[in-house]
Assembly symmetry: C2
Homo-oligomer: 345 residues x 2
């Protein structure tokens, strides 16, 4: 099967956007605070993901791991209490979709992070969603939305959420949300910078000494990291760190959201195949058709299929095996559906 | 000849560091303000660049374009007046080296940018250094040092320096300085993010409609940009921008400071050869020897030499021809030394 570990719910019903408008309006005028009953029925939810289902069918993908819209998380917006409600409602919608269409989507959640607020405030929501069947979580290394005001991911500030992640066996995708910084475009700069910055934070530290079972996925192909793999190997060496394979790659994984063949070929050349997880970021950052290929930019399976250096075994790992290993709750969810992985078969 | 367009003066005499210490100490205690006579003699200056000269000889490179240490620019440090003195002294040292060793170095300057200060304050220093023979300038898109508090490069805030650059025929390398943000490592994140962010700012805007002759070099291989070339082509298309070749590539160039062969191969695959300028960032971000090749990570000429898809004509462009075109004052400086380019020959 083809597991796409990076999909977002970007076709939300209008009621969700209207709720968010009213919720943020209530900061200025408390009388505008909306009811938490969004009034979205099951049929409407199923209909809302039809575009994803159509693409899944057309592209031959079995299962996206599905989380709320990344730019919609908006951790820097409003206040902590508003963020708690927003995360809960956003996660609940994803949960309902994945319950209605359990063979088509597996749920990943967002956390109610807020700039400057202790990360402990996110632990109850993580516990709640994992109890509901979520297989992973998105963790934002910059809840300030483009100003990088949080301590690096190696700081003890983050340890309470890591302890809970390890206990619950859920990996985190390190994913920023929208940018409120006019110098930093969200999908074209902030997302990619977030990936690069997070990797470098991990390189500088020794986080996985304290958390040997913690797992992070860095999306968008790892930002700039594979392109500058020599630079990172060299900086690690200058810093007297172990080789990156030892230092980071037992715990850090990259997705394939890189929208052209040469980029995916580079990844497959420098990043060990065990650390590459298939993904498309669908329906996501880039919606159009590449005039150079005639195919959608985000149809990343085509690129992986074309990389000549990969064996069938490699492709199994990228498309399925690695996801089952990094997301053990996904593996169990699939096994319960009668879909065991190759090793377990 | 081999022109290396990205070299920094990173072997400065101790007197320069001592000056900077005293200068910054004077913020707290004005009595510590140092004399601007650094007491560095010509022989000491020549000796200080011996490591670069040795590498030049060993690696077969004729000419680095040489600017003050990038992380040393420290635009966010101190106040505007201190930055003016610091830029002037730093540029003067580079000028003296390039005058003492005119066949070994060509000068590029730093500007006395300061967060929030009008960019007009940098125009006199740009005029001064170009009059002294400088062929280019480094422009910092984030003088806040990792917090991105300046308007994007397409904003009219920057126009006065662009007007002067065009008038004087000097390109700018878009290069951040050190990071004062504990979340953002300088060479491993801030530099690369700076490149990516600047490119995306340019993509979003239409700056080169207003300045058709303005030229920018984005260092470190363009940050994440070539790796995500499909993403940027796709985002530009979604934004109804022209194709990137038309929209940006008449004015935006990338250097080859990418420290492994697969990265340079990717660049050569997706970026037109007319937009690639040879560089090593020497002595720079990564000082060690790659255990996988037995050669220095920053010996980037080896990578360019190994890219099979490049013709001899392509290599001439990357190593020399493009630099002469993007830096017309360099071309004239070389011609005055009796070293004309291929076309002029």
């Amino acid at each position: 099967m083809i597991i796409d570990i990076h999909g977002h719910y970007t076709t939300e019903p209008q009621q969700l956007h209207q709720f968010r408008d009213k919720q943020l309006a209530s900061l200025a005028d408390p009388g505008r605070r909306p009811s938490e009953d969004l009034g979205i029925g099951d049929a409407q939810l199923v209909k809302s993901v039809q575009p994803q289902l159509d693409f899944q069918k057309a592209r031959g993908r079995d299962l996206p791991i599905f989380s709320p819209r990344a730019s919609g998380m908006g951790h820097h917006v409003g206040d902590e209490a508003i963020g708690q409600v927003w995360s809960r409602l956003s996660n609940d919608l994803v949960h309902r979709i994945c319950t209605l269409l359990p063979e088509n989507f597996a749920p990943v959640g967002q956390l109610p992070q807020f700039p400057g607020a202790p990360i402990e405030g996110c632990v109850p929501e993580l516990e709640r969603i994992v109890k509901m069947g979520f297989v992973g979580v998105n963790l934002n290394p910059d809840p300030s939305g483009g100003y990088w005001k949080s301590p690096p991911l190696t700081d003890r500030y983050w340890y309470p959420i890591y302890e809970k992640m390890v206990e619950l066996e859920v990996p985190a995708m390190i994913h920023v949300t929208g940018s409120c910084n006019p110098a930093v475009h969200f999908t074209g700069a902030h997302y990619i910078n977030g990936d690069t910055t997070a990797f470098m934070q991990l390189l500088q530290g020794n986080l996985f000494k304290d958390f040997p079972d913690l797992k992070f996925v860095i999306p968008h192909g790892g930002g700039a990291v594979p392109f500058h793999w020599g630079r990172y190997r060299g900086i690690a060496q200058d810093m007297k760190k172990p080789l990156l394979g030892e230092h980071l790659l037992k715990n850090v994984f990259f997705d394939t959201c890189v929208y052209h063949l040469p980029g995916v070929e580079l990844m497959a050349t420098v990043i060990p195949v065990d650390n590459i997880l298939f993904a498309s970021e669908m329906l996501g950052a880039v919606k159009g058709i590449d005039p150079e290929t005639g195919h959608h930019f985000d149809d990343t399976k085509r690129y992986v299929d074309q990389v000549k250096s990969l064996s069938d075994g490699d492709r199994y790992k990228i498309f399925e095996g690695n996801a089952r290993r990094v997301y053990p709750r996904l593996d169990r969810r699939l096994a319960q559906q009668g879909k065991s992985g190759r090793k377990a078969a």
